[in-house]
Each structure stands twice: as structure tokens, then as C-alpha cells.
Symmetry: C2
């Protein structure tokens, strides 16, 4: 961005891309570095109950990144909304054979934007308005 | 809570319960009041792409609450993590015939905790560690 300062939104989207880079390259050290140390963290993997402490969250990522059958993943259609020292990214995750939709929450810690929460779930429909009574997940 | 001041965590969990009360009673006015006015909002209903502006989000809730087939919903196992003026609640949503797991994000606006984001997706497994390569959503 020639001549322009990076905004918080830019920094958050950059951290979000780094999350997917670490995921798809199975880079455990990068994944570890991305998650907040002092702030509380939580994570909801697709289909799973919420994990609510750093040990459980990091253990889950170690397991996922060590799994040779873990899918490749590409992030697209990402958008960041910044609320002071917290930012919420929504995006889609293209896997080998399906697409998920995700919420990634970042918070400022030690002058860096670090992950404090991730939830991903299946994307089944793209158009029209959401209607909980009208789709198979309800 | 006799003799104890309400903490931000209490207030956030109270707002979270109010969200599920509005949902299950199909109280459109209460749902409208719960969502932030000035802050940006987004919402990921189960299976759907992200909705990223207040009009789309509120229209989706109007549609859901007007739907006679919308399920009853009960929130349980909720936990709040507070990050200054933003709070993240994770909880489970018991519907008539299945269970979802949700992220609800609240932000302080006009001295109230208001919703800025909601994502819910299916809960398929309860125990063990998450393993993206090992479940059917990947």
C-alpha cells in the first residue's frame, strides 16, 4: 500500500491470512504464535463443542495439524469489523470438497493482533435470507 | 446477587439470555433492541453465508421470528469472556430435535451490552479433542 499507513483492519486481515497459512502449511509454531497468551481463548471446531482454555485449544490444533488427512484450506470473502482492541473477521473456508463459514476474533495483545476465538461450520446455502425454520440444520 | 455488584460478565450473560428469550418468544422488538445500532454487525445463521449489515441481519431475524415452524430454543452451558468493551459468549442451543453450538459477541454501546455478531452451527460431537481431519464436516 504505497503511501498509505496500514490500518488496524489491514493488520487484522493480515493476521487472518496468517492463520490460514499456518493451517494449510501445518505450521504448528506459527499457529501457536497466533493465539493470545494472556487473554482468554476459546475455539469451536466444526461439529464440536466449545473448547475454552488455551491448553485444550492448542492441543486441538496440534492434533489437527499432525493429521495427514487434514484438508487443505483456502480463505476467501473475508471481512473485518474492528471494535477498538477487538476485531471480528467473517470469512469462508474452501476445503478440498466442501466450504465452511467462519468467525475469527482477534484482540490486541502486546501490540499484536492475536486470535482469541475461532468458530467454523458448514456453508450450505448462499442466497436469500437466513430462515432457521427452513433449513436442515434446524 | 445479594451484596454483590453485577460484573460485566453477569451483564453479558444476562444479555445473552435475553437474546434466547427474544428468540423463543418470537419477540421482534426485543430482538431489534438487542442488536447494536451504530457499531457494525454481522450474523451467520446455521448453514448460511455471513450477513454483514444491520438491515440484512435484522431482516433475517424478522423472517425467522415470523416463521411458524421456527424451533423453540434453549441456551445452556454458556460462558462469557470479557475483553474490555467487547465480550464473547460461547454456548449450546438446544432446539426441538437437535443441538447447535454458538458464538455470540457483545459490545458496549450507549452503556449497554449489545449484540454485534452471532454464529451458530451443528453440534455433532461432545467428547475428545477436535480433529478436523476426523469428522464429517471436513
Amino acid at each position: 500500500m504505497t503511501g498509505q499507513a496500514m490500518t488496524d483492519k489491514d493488520r487484522v486481515l493480515s493476521a487472518n491470512l496468517e492463520f490460514y497459512r499456518a493451517f494449510t502449511l501445518r505450521d504448528v509454531a506459527a499457529m501457536e504464535a497466533l493465539w493470545a497468551r494472556a487473554l482468554p481463548v476459546s475455539c469451536i471446531h466444526p461439529g464440536w463443542m466449545a473448547l475454552r482454555d488455551r491448553d485444550s485449544v492448542m492441543r486441538s490444533w496440534h492434533d489437527i495439524l499432525a493429521n495427514p488427512e487434514a484438508p487443505h484450506i483456502m480463505c476467501h470473502d473475508e471481512e473485518a469489523m474492528v471494535y477498538g482492541d477487538v476485531a471480528v473477521v467473517t470469512c469462508e473456508e474452501a476445503l478440498d470438497d466442501n466450504t465452511l463459514v467462519a468467525t475469527n476474533i482477534f484482540a490486541r495483545e502486546d501490540d499484536a493482533w492475536r486470535l482469541v476465538h475461532h468458530q467454523a461450520g458448514p456453508l450450505l446455502m448462499r442466497a436469500g435470507h437466513a430462515g432457521r425454520g427452513a433449513n436442515r440444520l434446524n
